[in-house]
């Protein structure tokens, strides 16, 4: 942590970056995102188990981008998000400094994008262990049971779209749900519209989700909507052998194809 603070201070003092995006402890002790623009503020930076948010979501926000060149405290999911954003041309690799954090909480020396790619490639890219258990349990249920499980869960959805706002991959300035000619997703919360929204979200993240679980964590009514995208992470890996966010040059799974993609249901 001391390494992180001194590194952030050094970057800000040398004007190498204008803002450091990291975590600070909030008044109740909960970690919250911090945007540090002054070298003296770097002492507030923390990194421990409380720091769970995916900070990469701020890299595409105009309010943050307008501050200038950015440095970001990045654990594995954040690094993979950065890779995805670069590959989708939402971010220039040169415009950010990555303060990489290893699994054990140590500061990594991420000099450039190749170093980051090498680090990502030797990490475990499958879904986190805590989410694999509910995924397996759900897959064991019958289709009818799964239908009623999701009906019950999604009936709580209040259409606040926190899942979308928290997701670094959901950066569209005009989302399909804001389109009203035609109105694809009903504005009010009802079971059908809630389900359509979550199907739409999962489909738009298929092959792009990097398994950070931020959508489920941000849900104010506790819908495990991250399981939908994580299920597709598994499926995309099974069918196409691709994990998202592994290279700055990868193309999106659903906008490319292999002529020999295997399926067994098209007659």
């Amino acid at each position: 942590m001391n390494n992180l603070i001194s590194k952030a201070k050094e970057l800000l003092e040398g004007k190498a970056v204008h803002v450091v995006i990291g975590y600070e402890a909030g008044p109740t002790g909960v970690a919250r995102p911090a945007f540090i623009t002054d070298p003296s503020g770097a002492d507030m930076l923390i990194y421990d188990d409380r720091c769970v948010q995916n900070l990469a979501v701020y890299l595409t926000k105009p309010e943050v981008k307008s501050l200038g060149r950015m440095a970001i405290v990045a654990n594995l999911p954040v690094m993979r998000s950065i890779m995805m954003l670069i590959s989708e041309q939402q971010l220039f690799a040169e415009s950010i400094v990555v303060l990489g954090i290893s699994d054990k909480g140590d500061l990594l020396d991420i000099a450039d994008i190749q170093v980051m790619q090498a680090y990502i490639e030797k990490s475990d890219l499958s879904n986190p262990a805590r989410d694999r258990e509910p995924l397996t349990a759900l897959n064991k249920l019958s289709p009818g049971e799964r239908f009623s499980y999701w009906q019950k869960e999604l009936s709580r959805c209040i259409k606040c779209y926190a899942c979308r706002q928290a997701c670094p991959m959901c950066y569209c300035t005009r989302c399909t749900v804001e389109v009203n000619q035609p109105q694809w997703i009903p504005v009010q919360s009802n079971t059908l519209g809630n389900m359509e929204w979550h199907i739409l979200r999962a489909m738009h993240l298929a092959g792009r989700c990097i398994s950070c679980g931020e959508c489920g964590r941000s849900c104010p009514v506790g819908i495990p909507c991250h399981l939908l995208t994580m299920h597709l992470v598994d499926q995309v890996h099974d069918y196409f052998n691709i994990y998202a966010g592994t290279s700055d040059k990868m193309s999106s799974v659903l906008s490319t194809f292999e002529p020999n993609d295997k399926e067994s249901f098209i007659i």
């Binding site: 009802n190 079971t191 059908l192 092959g207």
Partner: protein, 150 residues
């Protein structure tokens, strides 16, 4: 439910399956009249939301059909569609939506008889499954009732 007539919506591509369905007609082959055909420029144009809207508007079954792989008028539209349907099918399965109600097929412009067969087998299967009650219930549930149940 002997008087149940399934409503089936077919999303087809202009260049292969639509022409194939035309051939079925000009060849005077009879097939189930339950199907309502919607013509698209390409299978690559068929958004998954359109399928959901078909169910929401009362369809009991859906057919999605286009050119065989390598025969796409736009070279690669059907390959893109194939990837999308693989992912879509897995997501629908995970959410417990009955994938037996959706038929994905490749039917070329020369396969008039095959189009009749695809429609007939799909309609027969949907007839056996009955109306899509669980989806219709969800559509018709009034918002007030949901609020009361909170």
């Amino acid at each position: 439910m002997s008087d149940f007539e399934p409503k089936v919506v077919a999303f087809v591509c202009n260049w292969c399956t639509y022409a194939g369905a035309d051939l079925t007609g000009t060849s005077r082959i009879k097939y189930a009249s339950n199907v309502k055909i919607i013509r698209f420029p390409c299978t690559g144009r068929i958004d998954f939301m359109l399928l959901l809207k078909a169910f929401a508007n009362g369809a009991d079954g859906i057919i999605v059909s286009g050119c065989h792989p390598n025969d796409c008028h736009y070279t690669s539209g059907n390959f893109h569609a194939k990837r999308r349907w693989i992912v879509f099918k897995e997501l629908m399965d995970f959410m417990g939506i009955d994938m037996n109600r959706i038929t994905f097929s490749w039917v070329s412009a020369a396969e008039g008889a095959r189009w009749a067969e695809v429609v007939n087998t799909t309609v027969a299967r949907i007839r056996e499954l009955g109306p899509y009650v669980s989806y219709k219930e969800m559509v018709n549930r009034p918002v007030e009732e949901e609020v009361r149940n909170e």
